[in-house]
């Protein structure tokens, strides 16, 4: 599944709560309507990113999983809503 994104954020190797903290900082750099792609190898992001979006009011676009040499990379897509 390929979802087009405007900005990419690499959080590989980082644990909770770092992907969420980095996302909350990065989203400020985007303009409304742009999509942020957050790459993580922490499985928690599957639940955490939708929860973060619900609380902050940004739109959760979707999630893609990619196998990368035995490691799963999760790509979460968030559209800046405000």
């Amino acid at each position: 599944m390929a979802i087009p994104s405007d900005v990419k954020l690499n959080t590989l190797g980082l644990f909770c709560p770092m992907p969420i903290i980095k996302t909350s900082k990065k989203i400020k750099e985007l303009t409304v309507g742009q999509v942020l792609e957050v790459v993580s190898d922490d499985e928690g992001i599957k639940k955490d990113m939708p929860a973060w979006c619900e609380t902050t009011g940004h739109e959760f676009v979707g999630l893609a999983e990619e196998s990368n040499g035995g490691l799963i990379h999760y790509k979460a897509y968030v559209r800046k809503a405000k």
Binding site: G13, L14, F15, P17, I20, I21, T23, S24, W52, T56
Partner: protein, 176 residues
Amino acid sequence: MSGAKLDPQVALAELQASKPERVTLVVLSGDMDRVMAAFIIATGAAAMGMRVTMFFTFWGLNAIRREGVQGGAKDWLRRMFGYLNRGGADSLPLSRFHFWGLGTRMMKLVMKQNRMPGIAELREMALDLGVRFIACTTTLGLMGITKDTLIGEVDQFAGVSTYLAEAREAQVNLFI
């Protein structure tokens, strides 16, 4: 009062929209694992746009003490206590498997290998995200910890009323 009358429902909706959700955490424990959980929740909540207050009391005060600084308590009993009760982000023991420091050192090593932030980094991140720190004055006195031995970023020195005034406005209140 001005003559313009606000529709109470509209005013409330506006107020709620502009008012961020609040979280308070009472950090009583000075165990590394518990303090770590507290900072993870605090930073996570701040990243979700919530207003976070951490209230440090008893052993939790050790998490906001400067590393290697001894308290300047006046009487010998409290001085002795302060000497035994070491503080600082890097000196907190694990709640289990501390093993006179060996277990905690091993845990820190594993965390480092996995690039996980330690207490000091988490604390820095919390401050960076606007988390407010309150130190309990009563337990500071009781434990022989003086204000000048705490980190400079402590926002307030206060007591139970300040905590409750915050907590009654908050949606999430945790005791760790």
